[in-house]
Subunit: 327 residues, 2 copies
């Protein structure tokens, strides 16, 4: 088991051809070189997934692990309004992983990279005595000074969410607790194992006047709090307006709500936009057939988020988020 | 032990101010954004260090671990003739590491980043049940179409090495075997724990006509083989001309030779340049007081490297290099 020859493994994972003309030097030298377009800023982000912390082999095939690691980074680029272009992969490999499984991780990434016309331009392959650690760095671009920050929300803005929330956590629940249904490829399981980042939505939003935006990697509550804190406002989410799939609602509204607010890994987008722009944005999303829902409003405040139901307003706190708090 | 609060830790490692005007969005949003200069290509590389594989706490203080992880990446940028500008750090943290030790890792990086006017613009902080895994990605720039590849060597070229080789491996030997001398801060130990990448030498070489270049991370033999293979030539290294420090020679020539050719982690530069340019380059290096030594010549061939002594010529093979070969 494990990799027997580092060189042949690296050769096997090295792309045979490049997709992007702007790649000047790819894998095989000390570093990669590429050329940024004029009038574009460059975006960079990185994300690490650790075996038995971020994923378990019981619930994620190696293909899914690669797919999701790249998806998480593409989602970060989407949340800046950017276009993903290149990626670098560092992997620390334990002896117990087979070369076939490792190749599947790269295939999962490649599958997504093809969809977004991205090139694998670098990385590092090392061994470890611990669990598998997969680190992906994505580099992308956005038009000069158009990058979407979290800090642009203003009182009076509409709060919106793309797609549905909670499906990924519901999918994980099925994988862990309903082994009989595990192989049925429920849309919820699919959303957990192969979440599609929302680059197209980000592209549409980046053209608007003033938008704040986060991708939902840690649950809608946590992401809304980040926007509220960065923008020095409060956010009110309407309990009855949160977008759920029919699939998740078969588990009942309360569980859907909990998964949506605190589950995470949906890789949808949550953001704010002025009332004036909202009607236009809704129409544009309808045209490209991407679901977008008004879920709340921005009010004056100091970084708090509230869930508003018919009868009461409760403050939402960050939950299930601090990697180190539960130890 | 371990990190008790991810948010306060991230706050503690987040730079209070940025050094570079071209950083538009730094840590604290989904991704970082920066602006590349006109007429510049962008360089990206990444490197991962795993506890008990790439370093042991017996021989490397946390400060050194951070310093060296960043140095290894800066060295890759130097070997492309580039200027390092930004870095991202992903770290998988086991419970047994204290927050103080982790802060020291970041201080070690910061120490080097200050020297090179680099900004920490992103990263990821996760927990792990295994050893500490430190991944650093560096982004830099090089003048359009000037990036130095490995593949430019031609028969007749001079082969050169900057600084001395083998010191890092000798330093590790001292740390592992001569515990009595361990605290004497020998220059060899210093070279192992805090190797300085050679950006200035890369800057001088990138202005020359036709250069091939590698940084010495895996031993001079292995790096020479990479140049020979990429350039489809053979390289002959003169045994008597290899540059060694007086410190390493106290261990005898044979050990120095072995450490220099196969030890690695010196982060000096090895490369080739035409005979015509060599005299000029020597003079320019003398002016800025950086040691550079002619160590061999490029001949027609097919990717082989030979060590030439008075009486014989022996082929050098890659050694101590394949992370997975010895398991």
């Amino acid at each position: 088991m494990g990799i027997h020859d580092e060189f042949s493994f690296i050769k096997a994972i090295t792309p045979k051809e490049k997709r992007r003309e702007d790649v000047i030097v790819s894998i095989g030298d000390d570093a990669a070189i590429f050329r940024t377009e004029k009038n574009s800023d460059t975006i960079a982000c990185t994300d690490t997934m650790v075996e038995d912390i971020h994923f378990k082999q019981e619930t994620m095939e190696p293909f899914h692990i690669g797919f999701k690691a790249l998806a998480a980074n593409i989602s970060d680029v989407a949340a800046m309004g950017g276009i993903p272009q290149y990626y670098l992969v560092s992997i620390a490999i334990p002896e117990k992983w087979s070369e076939e499984s490792l190749m599947e991780i790269y295939k999962g990434m490649e599958h997504l990279a093809e969809k977004y016309n991205m090139d694998l331009i670098g990385g590092d392959t090392v061994s470890t005595f611990g669990p598998l650690v997969l680190n992906v760095t994505v580099i992308g671009s956005v038009e000069n000074d158009r990058g979407i920050k979290r800090s642009s929300a203003k009182p009076g803005d509409v709060v919106f969410i793309t797609g549905n929330i909670g499906d990924s956590a519901a999918g994980l629940h099925i994988l862990l607790n309903e082994k009989a249904n595990k192989n049925q490829l429920s849309p919820l399981v699919l959303k957990h194992q192969m979440p599609l980042p929302n680059v197209q939505a980000g592209q549409l939003l980046v053209k608007q006047d003033r938008v704040s935006l986060n991708d939902i990697s840690d649950g809608a509550a946590s992401e809304a709090i980040e926007i509220a804190e960065a923008s020095h406002v409060d956010i009110i989410l309407y309990k009855s307006q949160l977008p759920f799939s029919n699939d998740i609602l078969t588990f009942g509204f309360d569980r859907a709500l909990n998964w949506g607010l605190f589950g995470g890994e949906d890789y949808e987008l949550i953001g704010t936009i002025s009332q004036n722009s909202w009607e236009k944005v809704m129409a544009e999303f309808a045209k490209i057939k991407i679901k977008i829902t008004k879920v709340g409003e921005v009010v004056e405040g100091s970084g708090k988020v509230f869930l508003q139901s018919e009868k009461r307003r409760e403050q939402l706190l960050k939950q299930g988020y601090n990697h180190f708090g539960t130890r």
